[in-house]
Amino acid sequence: MWRRPFLWFIVAAALVYALYPYFTDDVGMRESLLLAAVYIILASNLNLMIGYAGYVNFGNIVFFGLGGYICLYLVTALHWHVIPAALTGGAAVSALALLFGLGILRLRGAFFALATIGVNQAIQQLVVNFEPWGGATGIYLSLDAYGPLGGPMQALWTTYLMIVAVTTASLLASYAIRHSKFGLGLLAIGQNEDAASVLGVPTPRYKAMVYSASAFLPAVAGGLYFFKSGIIEPSSAFNLQTSIEAIVMVMLGGSGTILGPALGAFLYEELRGFLLTAQSFSQFQLVIAGALLLLIVQFVPGGLLGWVHQRWPRTRRWLE
């Protein structure tokens, strides 16, 4: 599969993304890119559910938050290194998702979407009452925790690079799944689940698998992100608003495409960042973002890439 030019394009883009702030030494840029990278991870993995399998997961942020909690707990209480801690978080959340998935994936359409909200809220409240994880106070990282990465300053760079690596992995996973039998099965489920099932796609197993797969990288990213932030609280770890914004990003870029969600996440984050810091807009940033979304949904439902593909059908060959 490495013969495909598109893959090299992803890797090259990731390298530029990772190295640009490093060589320009533009730390402000790095912070902004980091947040965008996190959203790309969220949107890209969410796209596996929404774009491929056709299941709207409103509570996708729960993976991110739980991953963050597990990682920070391992780092603070058991003094693990952040990398194994984040990976363990990812694996644990992924396994948990498989378990949950078998239950709530029996639901279809809007009912599934609502159930995911319920799961997110229930888990947030559980964590609020879970004292080993600091309850509502959350977990605070001591500055010593950055020691193994060469102190707080260096740790920021290291986590940035790690998050870009996870972003790249997300895009590659999107690509690999899209071009596998598994991915084909998912697309079939997205088109018509009953028909897919009749044609021999093992729908319950595939759905649980994709739910679990879409949990892994966001959970790892959650671990890295909250490690970098130095603090995790239930309200910011399980923020439903962010979860819904991730859906907006997927739609903005074009759900079901590989690059679309990433593009959407990047643009959305930069736009929100701009509106938030531009004095004349900050009052109306929410209104502008909302109006923009409304226009996209009403008039460009395929998202940016969907629109491009429709306009210039040949681009589909290169970008997928």
Binding site: L114, V119, Q125, L293, L294
Partner: protein
């Protein structure tokens, strides 16, 4: 023991208002298969309408209720044409996003206008005290009005021509159109009705509690829970679902820390979705 009883009564009173809020959501959901994510924002509109009418114009608090019904209906029809009309018949995701965008715009405008500071409308109603426990007049009035409005909605849907048309459109839009029912207008009207209900529930909530521009989200989530308990598109179910939710809250409080209640609520929500996807109180719709 008396404490538990007091909690239960409180739960039923507040539950009736939850039911009213959910009625707006479930009506829209049932009739046009749109989950209105702007529901919470509309509840907030109802709250601020009370604030403006009472604080700025000096109207009596409950005078805001009929005003809100009319205003909510008009706003709802406007929102239908702006954000919902093009989503009818499209995949659910699209209408979810569209109404979510409406939500962002409404919340954003509200934030720019009123900031996110809390507002407070003082409504003086005689309260009922009993063995040290007090049930405030605003709670009792709100619950009573919620039941009355639910009753009126029932009459409208089952005993008027236009209400029957709404049900007909909900059951089979194409057949309704072929019967000569202008279904687009009926959908717009149903949306207006749903918004009016959500708005009125906000008005009633604002007579009881202080509120901010962001208060809507909590009631939106509760409305989801109620809808799932009560079944889709069923106003009577919504009222019962609301009371059930209030009862659960009331009954659970004496036995566990209050911060555990949301876990019970949302756990129950997910369980009900999986176990009774049509709702516990749903009698209609195959």
């Amino acid at each position: 023991m008396i404490g538990i009883l007091a909690s239960v009564i409180d739960g039923i009173l507040i539950g009736a208002v939850y039911g009213l809020a959910a009625m707006g959501l479930t009506l829209i959901w049932g009739v046009m298969n749109v989950i209105n994510l702007a529901h919470g924002a509309i509840v907030v509109v109802g709250m601020f309408v009370l604030y403006m009418l009472v604080s700025a114009l000096g109207l009596p608090a409950y005078g805001a209720v009929p005003v809100m019904i009319v205003l909510g209906f008009v706003i709802g029809i406007g929102l239908y044409w702006i954000g919902v009309h093009r989503m009818i018949g499209r995949p659910e995701l699209m209408s979810l996003l569209s109404t979510f965008a409406l939500n962002m715009v409404l919340i954003g405008l509200g934030t720019a206008w009123w900031t996110t500071s809390p507002y407070n409308v003082q409504v003086n109603m005689p309260s009922v005290s009993w063995r040290g426990y007090t049930f405030t007049g605003t709670h009792i009035t709100a619950a009573a009005l919620a039941v009355v409005i639910a009753g009126l909605l029932y009459l409208l849907l089952y005993h008027t021509r236009i209400g029957k048309a709404v049900r007909a459109v909900a059951t089979n839009r194409e057949a309704a159109e072929l019967c000569g029912i202008p279904t687009t207008q009926v959908l717009a009207m149903a949306f207006g009705l749903g918004v009016a209900l959500a708005g009125v529930s906000g008005t009633l909530i604002a007579t009881m509690f202080p509120f901010t521009v962001l208060s809507g989200e909590a009631y939106q989530l509760k409305s989801f829970v109620v809808t799932v308990l009560g079944g889709l598109g069923n106003p009577a179910g919504a009222l019962m679902g609301g009371i059930a939710l209030g009862l659960i809250e009331g009954l659970a409080t004496p036995f566990m820390p209050v911060s555990w209640i949301p876990i019970v609520e949302f756990g129950l929500f997910v369980f009900c979705l999986i176990a009774f996807p049509r709702g516990i109180f749903s009698f209609t719709k195959a």
